[in-house]
Amino acid sequence: MKVFEILLLLSLIVCAVSVAVVRDLLTSIIIFMSYSLIMCVIWVLLQSPDLAITEAAVGAGVTSILFFVTLKKIRAIRKEEQDEQD
């Protein structure tokens, strides 16, 4: 269990750094989402399931969806769709 916790914490740090460093905005949002999911598992391990549910629903769900919509609005995703079609 200790090893699992350390693994989770390490991947938390990796996620936090790569959100800032990564090139693509869409990728960084998805990494942000996975950060929230890892955090959710850590909340369960810290015996606070209330927070875990909220983290999963708000952090990984609603916040990321709002980020996606904003990216669409400022046309950061649309360009890539065109690239894929080309």
Partner: protein
């Protein structure tokens, strides 16, 4: 010799030093700059021997762009340099402060931690008896500290009001749409295109998500969860439904009028049920409703209706956020 020089040019330290001197941006060519045109600076070539020419070219471009005297440019470069050095120092200082604090935190779950005073002792010893809630996190949030939770729900309501002020498209903006029809066209471009996979998956997942959300809200006083998390799950379910089936379907049961009625009645009920504690000095355990047997679904007095209220407010807020971000209305 030239190979060593080349290695040095492409090394991280060299890049860091160039960034420090204000010659280049560390993240140049790394960050996504597609949205900002005209900010592209000449990127130094990967060929190490060319860097001096590149630097000269960059200086020329800078001179043409800013049309400033040599002296001003020099002072600007000095300022940039000091600015960057200060930024690095500030970052390191903040990191040091955080690490220092973390090292000195009391151990997790220790018996002598400062958080273990008479307040949690009271909650743990007599929480179930006084509030009737088995999950005494909810008992704490919605009974001992219900007034705080009322403030939080109001914060959500005010936040959705602010988003509405900023992003709403109503009759006044129809003139704007007539003048710029491409705005509407854009939105239609982003509308869901009757995606079969998404619709099938949503038809399978939606009942599960909605029932799980309702379960979390209704069982808030018995198991982990409560109004806020359950409301967020319900809101995500609604968003999924909207994304799969479009505004035409959701508008049959959820319009702006529905949003207004649900939110206002939930907040008003919460306010009427709990605001008397404002006058009794935040001491509000007696609600007059029998607490029932702890563990039954109809127990713990006011906690269940308050949970439902908070859940409804959170659900409406999440859904309103999404629709307002999407197209400025429900």
């Amino acid at each position: 010799m030239s190979r060593i020089r080349k290695d040095y040019e492409t090394s991280f330290f060299r890049k860091f030093k160039r960034w420090m001197d204000g010659e280049t941006d560390l993240l140049d060519g790394v960050m996504d700059l597609s949205g900002q045109e005209g900010t592209e600076e000449p990127v130094p070539g990967a060929e190490g021997t060319l860097w001096k020419e590149d630097e000269a070219g960059a200086e020329e471009v800078l001179r043409e762009k800013r049309a400033e005297t040599e002296k001003e440019r020099k002072s600007l470069a000095l300022f940039e340099r000091i600015y960057r050095i200060m930024a690095v120092i500030l970052c390191l200082a903040i990191i040091w402060v955080f690490l220092w604090t973390t090292v000195h935190l009391p151990p997790f779950g220790g018996a002598d931690n400062p958080a273990n005073n008479e307040v949690p002792a009271r909650y743990i010893e007599s929480g179930v008896r006084e509030t009737g809630a088995i999950n005494f996190v909810t008992g704490m949030i919605l009974d001992y500290r219900a007034f705080d939770t009322f403030g939080e729900s109001c914060v959500l309501f005010v936040a959705s009001c602010c988003v509405m002020f900023l992003l709403r498209m109503d009759k006044g903006s129809s003139r704007l749409l007539r003048e710029h029809p491409d705005l509407l066209e854009d939105d239609r471009l982003f509308e869901p295109k009757d995606d079969v996979i998404l619709q099938r998956a949503a038809a399978f997942l939606l009942p599960l998500i909605l029932i799980f959300g309702i379960y979390i809200v209704l069982n808030g006083h018995l198991s982990p969860g409560g109004g806020f998390s359950g409301g967020a799950v319900l809101g995500s379910g609604l968003i999924l439904y909207l994304e799969a089936f479009g505004f035409r379907r959701t508008r049959r049961f959820f319009t702006e009028k529905t949003y207004r009625r649900i939110t206002l009645s939930a907040l008003t009920f919460y306010c009427l049920a709990k605001s008397y504690s404002f006058y009794t000095g935040a001491n509000h355990l007696e609600s007059g409703i029998p607490l029932g047997t702890p563990g039954a679904i109809l127990s713990s007095g006011l906690i269940l209706p308050l949970n439902i209220c908070v859940g409804l407010v959170v659900m409406c807020t999440m859904y309103a956020f999404y629709t307002l971000f999407r197209r400025g209305g429900m």
